[in-house]
Amino acid sequence: MDSHQASGEAIRVMASAVTVRPRRPMGFWIAKGAQYGMLILFAVFVLVPFMWVIFTALKSNLEIAQEPLGLPPNWRFENLAQAWNQGKFSRYFINSVIVTVPIVILVVSLSCLAGYGLARLKMPGRMLIFYFFLVGLMVPFTAIMIPLFYILRDIGVLGTYWAMILPQTAISLPFGIFFMRAFFSGLPYDLTDAAKIDGCNDFGVFRRVMLPLAGPAVAALIVFNFMGSWNAFLLPLIYLQSDKLRPVMTGMMFFTTRWGPDYSMSMAGTLIVMAPIMAVYLVFQRQFIQGLTAGAVRG
């Protein structure tokens, strides 16, 4: 029996030299267990705060005081309805949509145009203009936020949605142009030449040939900018101070501050804000991950 095992071991060692996978049964299972143990540990680290937000949102304050840990004794979904109504969340969500949609459309279309122009069209000073935009990647919003307030006031847009749409679009352009220029630079020139021979002008080439090829890059840029302006906080905190204009992020902050000691209400409000984006993420996971890591993975 022993010699049998020994020869089995010898065969395994020889086999491992060939397949280059030394596996010893006990060690293998211990390693496997440790591997899964660590993976699960971090999954728990991520999920526990989510669980407690959900549990707290669905308890009454008395239940939170008596039983801060654990499942809600009664699942009070009416908390969500109450927070929705008292927190004016319908207003906040509509405001977020009203500012985010134009921002995404403007950033993506202007970035495509300028990115294409800087990648493929001849003009004097092309590289200079490109570097001029790149400098913008290094300017943090904080460095321009103070005078912007007075500029927006003087051109008369403070107190309207434009007070967020214009600056958020502008600060998003350097990255968008950088990203789209990199994409358009990588496309083959044969396509352009062929379309030109067929009688397309530059705009025609851009719209009919290049833009349709840019689908994945445009999708990534849309996700990136949607998340950027939906989640923006400091910018609306400064420029959209009126409660009527407030988007979800600052609205949620004011809600949780106002209902601070009312834990179940403020957690219900938080859950209302988190839930839609999480649901969309779970459905469009791949697009989300590609969009949000676009800058890092490509660069």
């Binding site: 145009l113 936020m145 103070i146 400091l234 999480m278």
Partner: protein
């Protein structure tokens, strides 16, 4: 005849240029009006004393900058940014690398783990802040409740109210919200690591640490510099989580340069001095970007 042909080409060239500029112009106008012009305006404001309301901005030269050097609140805010940069870069990159290597060769449940780790990344920093403010709640927050439930009442404390614990506590929240990003980017980078080298190293008897240090990390060089740059810049600019959880408090224990600037310019209405702080922040950003670019140039091929 030749003249008219030459003329035609000259015009055509001009027309081409005009087309090029037409593509770039709309973006350029937005960028100049709402980024470049305000930046120079900030420099101008930083040389004035102004409360944001008076019609006249009093020009004071470099007075604000002289005040900066003697301002302990600025130095404490910058030191908090520095701590944030160090911990907030090392921890998520290390966790991302660790999990990336664990999941590298494919594991059952791979999609599940990736989905979960990336989940906090889609949340707004505001939501991350609110969630962790609740986690740290001294009375009913899950952390203290758990400690009490297992009899460790001594360890239960007001995490965000303690000047020494507040900053690390917020950074932990930031790491929770961010490590999934590093993980996904590192996973993408691992696809490019040469498997044959790993196999060769295995034959030569390299252990796990040696394989990590000599093959995997050099193979991830570009990815690692990229995410380090991202986390560095996040560390300089961090605002949302701090403002939501502590507003810079207790005392000034968690103020970072962005919260200090915002507070000075918009809540205390020292617009001139706030602008000088904003310029400092711009310079710090520039230095950090520059360091990153030079590291990248040197680390590149």
């Amino acid at each position: 005849m030749t003249d008219s042909i030459r003329q035609f080409f000259a015009d055509r060239k001009l027309r081409d240029y005009a087309t090029g500029y037409a593509f770039v112009l709309p973006a350029l106008v937005m960028y100049v009006v709402f980024v470049v012009y305000p930046f120079f305006y900030t420099i101008y404001l930083s040389l004035t004393k102004w409360d944001g309301a008076k019609p006249v901005k009093e020009f004071v030269g470099f007075l604000n900058y002289e005040k900066l050097f003697a301002d302990p609140r600025l130095w404490s805010a910058l030191s908090h940014n520095f701590i944030w940069i160090i911990l907030g870069t090392l921890a998520p990159v290390a966790i991302g690398l660790f999990l990336g290597v664990l999941l590298w060769r494919g594991v059952r449940g791979m999609v599940f783990f990736r989905t979960v780790y990336f989940l906090p990344v889609v949340l707004a920093p505001v939501a991350v802040g609110i969630i962790w403010k609740w986690m740290y709640n001294p009375q009913f927050g899950p952390i203290n409740s758990t400690l009490r439930a297992v009899g460790l009442d001594v360890l239960a404390k007001g995490w965000l109210g303690d000047p020494y614990l507040a900053l690390p506590a917020i950074i932990l929240a930031g790491v929770w919200g961010y490590f999934g990003f590093c993980f996904v980017v590192i996973m993408a980078g691992l696809q490019n690591v040469d498997m044959e080298q790993i196999d060769a190293a295995l034959v030569d008897g390299a252990n796990g640490a040696q394989r990590l240090w000599y093959i995997i990390i050099p193979g991830l060089r570009h990815v690692l510099t990229m995410i380090t740059a991202f986390t560095l810049i996040l560390g300089v600019n961090v605002f949302d989580i701090v403002w939501i959880t502590t507003r810079g408090g207790p005392g000034r224990a968690t103020h970072v340069i962005a919260t200090y600037t915002y507070n000075t310019a918009f809540r205390e209405s020292y617009v001139g001095y706030g602008s000088a702080l904003a310029i400092v922040m711009g310079l710090v950003s520039l230095v950090v970007s520059f360091i990153f670019i030079s590291i990248r140039e040197r680390g590149g091929d």
